[in-house]
Symmetry: C2
Subunit: 462 residues, 2 copies
Amino acid sequence: MAQKPSIPKGTRDFGPEETAKRNYIFETIRDVFQLYGFSQIETPAMENLSTLMGKYGEEGDKLLFKILNSGNWMKDLTPADVESGEYAKLTSKVSEKGLRYDLTVPFARYVVQHRQDLTMPFKRYQIQPVWRADRPQKGRYREFYQCDADIVGSDSLINEVELLQMIDEVFDRLGIRIVIKLNNRKILTGIAEIIGEPDKLTDITTAIDKIEKIGEDKVVEELLSRGLKEKSIDLLKPFLNMSGTTAGKLDFLKVQLADSPTGLLGVAEMEEVINETESIGINAILELDTSLARGLNYYTGTIIEVKARDVEIGSISGGGRYDNLTGIFGMPGLSGVGISFGADRIYDVLNSLELFPSTATPSTEVMFVNFGSEESKVAMKMLKEMRKAGIMAEIYPDQAKMKKQMSYANDRNISHVAIVGEDEIKANKLTVKRMADGVQHTVELKEAIRLIIDYRQQELSE
Amino acid sequence: MAQKPSIPKGTRDFGPEETAKRNYIFETIRDVFQLYGFSQIETPAMENLSTLMGKYGEEGDKLLFKILNSGNWMKDLTPADVESGEYAKLTSKVSEKGLRYDLTVPFARYVVQHRQDLTMPFKRYQIQPVWRADRPQKGRYREFYQCDADIVGSDSLINEVELLQMIDEVFDRLGIRIVIKLNNRKILTGIAEIIGEPDKLTDITTAIDKIEKIGEDKVVEELLSRGLKEKSIDLLKPFLNMSGTTAGKLDFLKVQLADSPTGLLGVAEMEEVINETESIGINAILELDTSLARGLNYYTGTIIEVKARDVEIGSISGGGRYDNLTGIFGMPGLSGVGISFGADRIYDVLNSLELFPSTATPSTEVMFVNFGSEESKVAMKMLKEMRKAGIMAEIYPDQAKMKKQMSYANDRNISHVAIVGEDEIKANKLTVKRMADGVQHTVELKEAIRLIIDYRQQELSE
C-alpha cells in the first residue's frame, strides 16, 4: 500500500469551512476596494527571474522559489560548475523563472509593460497568492495570499486619506477594532538631520523600530554600537518618548524640527492626512508613531501600520507611499501609495474573537432523503424548483439507511431535511424538518420553499 | 535605461476588464456549484513531485513545472551526473516539488490525506489555476484556471443526473446554447467484446475518437495498422455510423450488445441517466455519441463532453465517472464522478457571441471632480455618504485640468460625474452629470444618491 500522501511543508490545504471563511475575508476586502473605485488585475504566478531578482535584497533572492527549466535543464551546466559548488551563481543556468514573492514588484512590472493602455492615476487591486521559501513556523507559510490596493500616478494626499478610510471600512465590516499607526519618512529624515546624524537614518530607524520589544536602554546601547554619538542619542531621546494627543505630538515635532525643511514637510503632510481623515469621520484610532519604520528604504512619505486592539498579534495591514516603484523597470518619477491586507492574520483575529458570522460559511439549506428510485424521481423534480427559487439544495445520492443520511445532514450542517415518501407523493406534498429543533411540517412545495427562505432571512437578521 | 519588462511565454496578465469578465464566469460557475450542495476547497499550488509524477503518463511528467530545491540545489549532483546528460533521471536530485498540473490528482491526494475528517459522499468544488509546460499556442496557455466539481463515495447515477443539470444551468445562465455528448465506457467495452477484440479497447477508442477529424476510411486504415482483423472492423462499422433518435440508438445498442453483460449494463446506465435528466427537464441537447472517448483509461462509466452550438471551438466542459481515483494513493474502491469547466474557452465563446452582460464589468458609478482643497473637503464628505449608500464612488485625486479629469472618467467608463464648486457649496448641493447623454441636475445629496441608484437599476433591468 502506498504511503499516506502529504503536501510540502509550509503549504496548506483549506477544507470547506476554512475556504468559506477565507472567501468571506477576500470578499469583504474586494467589496471595499471596488466601492472606492479600484479595479482588479491579475498577474501570472510565474515571473521572469530578471523581473524578481535584486528587488527584495540578498535575503529575498534566496527566498524566491525558482522554476527548473523545462526539457534538458542540465544543458548549460558543466562538470566544473558542479565541482565549484557555487550554486547561487549557477542558478541562472538551470532556471529562468520564479514564483512571485509579493504583488508589488509584479504590479510595477505590469504598469511599465502596459503603460500605453493605462489611464493615470491608475487604481488597481490584486488578491493573489505569493510564495516565499522562508523557514515555515507558526503563522508563517510558504504560500499565502496578499490583498493589495495601490494608486500610481498621483501624489495627492487625498489618496492617503482614502486608503485610511478603506482600512477603516474593511475592519469595520469585519468587526475588528483597530489602531492605525502613522509615520512619515520625511519626519524620520528630519529627526536624523536635527540630531546631527543625517547619514545614520537607517541605523536610527532600525534601532527605534525595536523600542517596544527591547526597551530604551537596549536601543541606546544598539545606537552606540552603530556609531552614533552620545550627544546625538540624547537629542534623539525626546522623540522616542513622545506621548499625549496627536495635536500635542504635532506641535512638539514642529518645534523640534523647525530647522529641517524636510522634517517640517513631513509634519505638514501628517497633519493634513490626520485632519482630513478625522474630519470625514473614522472609527479607528489614528496614532502618530515616530517609531514606525516598516521597510523604510522603500517608503518615501506616509507610512501606515494597522494593529488589532483586542488581540495580541503582529500588524494586520500596512502600507505607505513610495516614489520610485517603477524606476527599477526604466519608468522613473511615478509616485504611488498603497496598502496591503494580511488575510492569514485577519483570519486568526476573526477566529480568536469569534467574529465570523454564520453566513460566512454557507451550506446546503435542504437535503432530500433518498428512499429509492421511485421516490427520488419525485424528489428531484421538487429539488429543481427549490433551486430555481435560489435555495441551496441536494438529494442524498444513495438509498442508504435513514440514520446514515441524517448523520450526513448533521455533519454538513444542513438546516432542513425534506422527506418525500409514499404518503407525501399521494398527497402531492413533502415533509420539511428543521434540524435545529426537529419541528416538521407536511406542506405543498410552494409552502416548503417559503418556510426555508423565511428561515434563511431570520438567520441573516440575527 | 532598463529593458522593457515582460512575462514568461504562455502566461498572461489580466487587466481590469478581462479580470472582471473572468470573475463573472467564475462566479456563475461557483453559484451553481453551491446551489447544488458542493463545498469549495483549495489545495496548494505546489505538490510533492511524488504526488504528481507518474499520474499523467510519460508526456505529462515532462510537462510538469518543477521547483528548484531551495539553498544548495546542487549538493546531490556530481560532475559525473552532468557528464551523463541524463537530465530526466536526475531531476529528482535538484527538485522535490512541482506545480499542480490539474485539480484531479491534488483532489485525490486531499481525499486520502484527510479521509478521517470527510463526510462521505464528499461533494467538493475547486476553482484554481494549473500549470503545464506545454508549447504555448493560440488558446493554449501555461497557466490557466480549471473549475471542477466532483462527488466521491457514491456510485448512484443520481450524481450523473445532477452534474448534467449543473452543466445545463451554468450555460443557461451564461446564455450559451450547448450540446452535451454522452458515452459510457462499459458500452465501449461491450463493443470491443462483441466484435471479438476485447483486448484492443484502447486501440479502438483512440481510432474512433478521430472519426470526425479524419473520416471513416482513415479510421479503418488505422485500425488495420493497429492489428484489428478485417472481420472485426466490419462488425465495428455499424457502431460508427449510428444516427437517429436517442431512443433508436439505445434500441440498436441493446440488440447489438445482447451478448455482452458489461455492454448492456452500460446501455442501461446511459438510458437511466438520459431519461432521468430529460424527465426533470433540461435546455441542452443530450446526444448519445459512442465515438466519444476522452481519456478513456481514466473513466469507468459515464463520459461527458460539452460543445457550444453557435461557435466552432473544442469542448467547453467535460467529465465522467472514475472508479479508482484514490487507489494510486493507497485508498482503493472509492467511486467518483466529476465535471470540469474550461474558463478560457468559455471566455472566448462569450466574447465572440457578445454575451458578456454590461454588469459583468462593474465600474465606478460617480467621480467627483477635484477643484482644489477647499472644494474637495466638501466633496469627500459627500463621497462618504455615497459609498455608505453602496455607490461605487471616487474623487479625482489631483487638482488637474477639467479636460484631463473628464477624460479619466470617460476612459474608465464612469457613468456619472459630480461637481461640487463654489455655487454648489453655498447652496449645499451638488451637480450630477450623466456621462451617457450629458444631462445634469443640481440637487441635494440625497437626491443625487437616488438618481445614481435609479440609473443602476435601469442598467440592470436592460
